[in-house]
């Protein structure tokens, strides 16, 4: 079960020492429920800001974002946290794993925030690690895992709360080619199995072509493919 994404006139400006910096300027696009979109563009195009806004890490300043019919413009604080917990699964370029926790504990972490019992959390974490092919590495800390394995753990963590929208920020940016393919295939399999919507930011044109929909950005504007 995924969500449809609707963006209308989305603009975003940061205040910097040098003055206001507009990173998104009146962006419009839609992604279908269960769709697969790749956001591409050079550095500074606004990809990460767009992903932050879609993931509820920031409040939209101007324009409208609807995720699964829910208007994010009216959400703040705890409501945004609840939205992230219930709807979003994040996969970061740098994995975002806590070095002090084992693979299983990293996966469990997402479950601790929604009040799941420790036993249930543990079972769910092991189930997901098994699903990403890392059941035998559950007790290992991130420093003992390869880049591809770390990203697979991160994907398992993103799936704990059964997200309807999976947001991946350069998920293969730190991986070699083989690992990249494995991770992308895993993300695509997750999408297929769970029916969630997948939005991926990538520099990699080849990977972007795998998506059903490409959203190329440049200086905060959508450009032609």
């Amino acid at each position: 079960m995924g969500v449809a994404i609707t963006l209308r006139g989305l603009s975003h400006t940061y205040r910097t020492a040098e003055g206001p910096l507009t990173v998104l300027g009146g962006l419009d696009f839609d992604v279908a429920d269960g769709g697969y979109a790749a956001i591409t563009g050079p550095s500074g195009a606004g990809k990460t800001t767009l992903l932050s806004l879609l993931g509820g890490l920031e409040q939209p300043q101007k324009g409208r974002i609807e995720i699964g019919g829910q208007d994010l413009n009216g959400l703040s604080g705890d409501d945004l946290a609840a939205y992230r917990r219930a709807t979003i699964g994040f996969v970061f370029q740098h994995f975002g794993l806590l070095e002090t926790l084992t693979a299983a504990q990293n996966v469990e972490l997402a479950g601790t925030l929604n009040g799941t019992s420790p036993a249930e959390r543990r079972a769910r974490a092991l189930e997901l690690l098994h699903a990403v092919g890392l059941a035998d590495r559950a007790g290992h800390r991130p420093s003992r895992l390869s880049g591809g394995e770390r990203q697979r753990v991160a994907i398992a963590r993103a799936l704990v709360n059964e997200p309807r929208l999976l947001l991946a920020d350069e998920p293969t940016g730190n991986l070699d080619d083989d690992a990249s393919v494995m991770v992308i295939e895993l993300l695509e399999k997750v999408r297929a199995d769970h029916g969630c919507t997948l939005v991926m930011v990538t520099h990699n044109r080849e990977l972007a072509t795998r998506a059903e929909q490409r959203i190329p950005l440049d200086r905060g504007q959508r450009v032609a493919v």
Binding site: R84, G96, T100, L109, A110, L113, V160
Partner: protein, 465 residues
């Protein structure tokens, strides 16, 4: 998560805990030592008895002197069981202990060969025989030493024996310097005061020298039989000195059982006053030692007793003054410890601020997976609380150990000075306050970094990733 963070930054955590522990150590040690010093000084003031004790004299009161510690008693006034019962029934009175003093002649350590001695085995006085021989030895549990090298042998002298309820002697203002108190109801054991040591030419340090020696106490009586010249005779009792004490129950160098002093008093009272040359006691009690429920109630009880018409004395002003000074010392020492704790808490704040800066990515990840601001805040507060609690527990234990060490050194010094040592109490409240205070201060110190972490924009945190 907070626990793993502490483990991960083990070195820094240890240093932070050490700072808190050091501060808690200082606080606990200073307050414990100050508190014990206070107890010790006040205990010295009350000479072992309760601080809320009041001496009631068999004398008329001067109501204008009720607020003075040691008022001048008025003319004699009998103190009997009915008065004792009235005082016992007063509100705020915990106990009333009788004191019976009797004037005796004293021979140390052997009576002169020509002394006229009535040798009597107690109880007395059913039959009295006149003799010029030395008193018979009395049975007691301590083997008497007949002579002690260096002891003076003073001439017979008049003194007062103070009879108290030895079963409840611990409630009275008596401190044992050497040996022990006579056993309750004993007629053959006596404890002496420092005045006796002085008379014997001994110092306080040499108190043990008189323990085990004998003394003979003769209660005087004047016989005025018709047609015969007036005769003075004494009821002699040979007693063993079993201890040396400091006491403030009543003037007198000998502490004996109530039975002993009553027997002496009755013997003297049965005689003539020799036309005023001998003071015949009429009051059943020469004094009462009244213990109030609380030191704060002493003044009220004194007023109540004064209303009954009896003179009282109590070291309430002295105790209050000393209490005030010691309280100031305690506050100053506590403040030093508290300042140390505040400095340590700044260390916690600094360590946590550094942790917040270092863990931006971690905070971002937490927020990205759905953590609310308060969830993030809780992680850092928990970490601060753990550092404070562990530091507090370790520091409090070390502080108490330090106080024990200091008291051992102090006791060594006091013993070398011939003084009684200090027994360090276990100040549960101080220990609990130190642990709780450390934890609360740490939580306070962690509040700002925790709030900063919680307010960190999720977007910035994600960029740090």
């Amino acid at each position: 998560m907070a626990a793993t963070s502490i483990r991960r930054r083990f070195g820094r955590s240890v240093l932070t805990v050490a700072a808190v522990a050091l501060a808690a150590t200082l606080l606990t040690a200073l307050v414990t030592i100050a508190g014990t010093a206070r107890t010790k000084v006040l205990s010295e003031l009350s000479k072992g008895g309760p601080l809320s004790g009041i001496n009631v004299a068999a004398a008329e009161a001067d109501p204008t002197q009720v607020d003075t510690d040691d008022p001048k008693p008025g003319p004699p006034k009998d103190l009997d069981d009915s008065i004792r019962a009235k005082i016992t029934a007063m509100p705020d009175v915990k106990s009333v202990l009788p004191i019976v003093a009797a004037v005796v002649n004293v021979i140390v350590p052997e009576p002169p060969a020509n002394a006229e001695v009535l040798a009597r085995q107690p109880p007395l006085p059913d039959t009295i025989a006149t003799t010029t021989s030395a008193p018979q030895s009395t049975t007691n549990s301590t083997s008497p030493r007949q002579a002690v090298p260096g002891l003076k042998t003073p001439d017979p002298f008049p003194e007062t024996m103070v009879g108290i309820d030895l079963d409840r002697a611990s409630l009275m203002p008596i401190t044992i310097l050497s040996g022990r108190l006579p056993v309750p109801k004993s007629l053959t054991e006596v404890a002496v005061t420092q005045g006796y040591l002085t008379r014997m030419g001994l110092t306080k340090k040499q108190a043990a020298a008189v323990v085990g020696t004998e003394v003979q106490l003769g209660a005087p009586r004047v016989f005025t039989d018709t047609g015969l010249p007036r005769r003075f005779r004494s009821r002699w009792v040979r007693a063993t000195i079993v201890g040396v004490v400091a006491q403030e129950t009543a003037p007198g160098q000998f502490i004996v059982s109530l039975e002993q002093s009553r027997a002496a008093r009755n013997w003297t009272s049965a005689g003539s006053d020799a036309e005023g040359r001998v003071q015949i006691p009429t009051s059943p009690y020469s004094g009462l030692f009244v213990i109030a429920n609380d030191i704060e109630k002493v003044n009220q009880v004194r007023r109540d007793i004064t209303e009954l018409g009896y003179s009282t004395s109590a070291p309430e002003n002295l105790v209050a003054s000393v209490q005030r000074y010691l309280r100031v010392v305690e506050i100053v020492l506590g403040a030093i410890g508290a300042i140390a704790l505040v400095i340590a808490s700044m260390g916690i704040a600094n360590a946590l601020l550094a942790a917040v800066r270092e863990r931006r990515r971690e905070i971002g990840v937490l927020k990205a997976i759905g953590a609310r601001d308060r969830d993030v805040q809780r992680v850092f507060l928990f970490e601060a609380g753990v550092l404070g609690l562990v530091g507090g527990i370790v520091g409090t234990a070390l502080g108490y150990a330090t106080a024990l060490g200091v008291s051992a050194v102090v006791n060594g010094y006091l013993a070398a000075q011939g003084l009684k040592g200090v027994r360090l109490g276990l100040p549960i409240l101080v220990l609990l306050a130190a642990v709780c205070g450390s934890t609360l201060l740490a939580l306070g110190a962690g509040a700002m970094p925790a709030r900063r972490a919680a307010r960190m924009p999720a977007r910035e945190a994600m960029e740090a990733a």
